[in-house]
Symmetry: C2
Subunit: 281 residues, 2 copies
């Protein structure tokens, strides 16, 4: 049985269409800004899966996730599972300057106060799931990305924007039986980076570049321009989480043949649904 917060509202119809039973939830804001949540139906068993993505307003979505859990415990839920397709603060995963927090640790510990299990998609640093006190699973969008881009790609090649992201490209490529590689970045001045795809011939071939998060899209645009110069066929860009900065969707879209992200965050280009991965949990 699913309960959907306001950060999962855009997934609700599809969860229902794929057979997920949805518990009614009322969510509103008091005039002073406090959230009010209420579970409307009655539980049909001991476990509930709360779906709440934590894109902006991140902190409101996080607090709502905790309030929903408190309400569900109060209503008798014994096991609570959180599905947080996009986990806020996931990029604040280490102390880079003295005095910083490991913000994602604080978030994971807070979710762990109420939830027994946590499912996220394509976490920026999967190692941080160790901060969650219960069972925590990092789900892969590779299957749904492969389904979406398979036909369009044909005999194309899949590229990661850097070596660290190679596993992501490989996961999609293996599902489609395609070649994969990554770009190599060389910093040639403080403001200039040279990129080149490693050990792969892109001439005349369609290319899909895969990443976890797109924000400004600068890397993707540079990569696409380079592939174009090298004579690639169609150029596609996919990412799990579309944390787009102002204007980024338009800029990336102009530079490539198609930009598509998943619906962990609702955006105008969230054409790849992760819901099939959620309902089979």
């Amino acid at each position: 049985m699913f309960a959907v917060g306001s950060g999962g509202k855009h997934l609700e119809d599809e969860i229902r269409a794929l057979g997920g039973e949805i518990l009614g939830v009322e969510i509103k804001k008091f005039p002073d800004g406090e959230k009010y949540v209420r579970v409307l139906g009655s539980l049909d068993g001991e476990g509930v899966t709360v779906v709440q993505s934590t894109f902006a307003p991140q902190d409101e979505h996080l607090v709502e996730l905790i309030l929903l859990a408190d309400a569900l415990r109060e209503a008798g839920a014994k096991r609570l599972r959180a599905v947080v397709p996009y986990l806020a603060y996931s990029r604040q995963d280490r102390v880079t300057k003295d005095g910083e927090p490991v913000s994602v640790r604080a978030v994971l510990r807070t979710i762990g106060l109420y939830y027994d299990e946590l499912y996220v998609f394509d976490l920026h640093n999967p190692g941080t799931l160790g901060f969650f006190p219960g069972k925590a699973v990092n789900l892969s969008p590779a299957g749904v990305m492969a389904d979406y881009f398979g036909e369009k790609l044909g005999e194309g090649v899949i590229l990661a924007p850097d070596k660290g992201a190679l596993g992501r490209a490989r996961a999609v490529a293996e599902r489609l039986g395609l070649e994969y590689s990554h770009f190599h970045k060389t910093r040639i001045s403080p403001t200039e980076v040279r990129m080149e795809p490693v050990d792969v011939d892109v001439r005349g071939r369609n290319v899909l570049i895969v990443d976890d998060i797109i924000s400004t899209g600068g890397t993707m645009i540079r990569a696409a321009n380079l592939l174009r110069e090298m004579g690639a066929g169609k150029i596609f860009v996919a990412a799990t989480h579309g944390v787009f900065a102002e204007g980024a969707i338009e800029r990336v879209s102009r530079a490539v043949d198609e930009l598509a992200v998943t619906n962990t965050i609702p955006t105008p280009v969230s054409r790849i649904s992760v819901v099939p991965e959620m309902v089979r949990l």
Copy 2:
């Protein structure tokens, strides 16, 4: 040693003026809406007191409180004390309809993840402090209210807007050696309530009405109008937390001789400072 979040910024100068040592803190928001916090100085001992009131935007202030704690633990703090002058969600303190959370419980448990001690002011339902896992103290603003209104009141009387709030009026009255009582409310129709002060003669005497929270101010205005009709002298209104609805400050101010609240929430009428109570902790 104090560290001050953005919900305590308005108190920082006075904390310093009263001898509190303040640790530098950097707080900003990333373009995607995530908060970034960083502790800048170095700890001079093992304990830090974080001052963060959680008025709107409540959820951001709450998350910041947790992020600051994570950073302070990372920097080596052994004991963490949270001073949360206004505690968000404090009025959501019970289940009134099936399916509701006890939201203040969720908030107190979350703060308890990181903080050993919690200090709040004039909590709506002090019993809820039992949800905090460590030491939790409900501080009284009676002393600073008595200091502020003592001379203005003269031989006046102190009134609570209802019987439940009588203790608040008594605490201020006892400090000033004044008489105190409360209003009695009778609901005479779904939209009309009759109020009358119990066992006290207000004719020709100054009156201070004391409450914990003012939001719309409707009760205060009704009480003030009634006192005016009964021939009271000057009419003052004090509250701990000014959670004012749009226009409430102006409406209440027009109905009374002076409206003043404490600075647990910064408002144009936050003339009574709780900082003296904080620095002596």
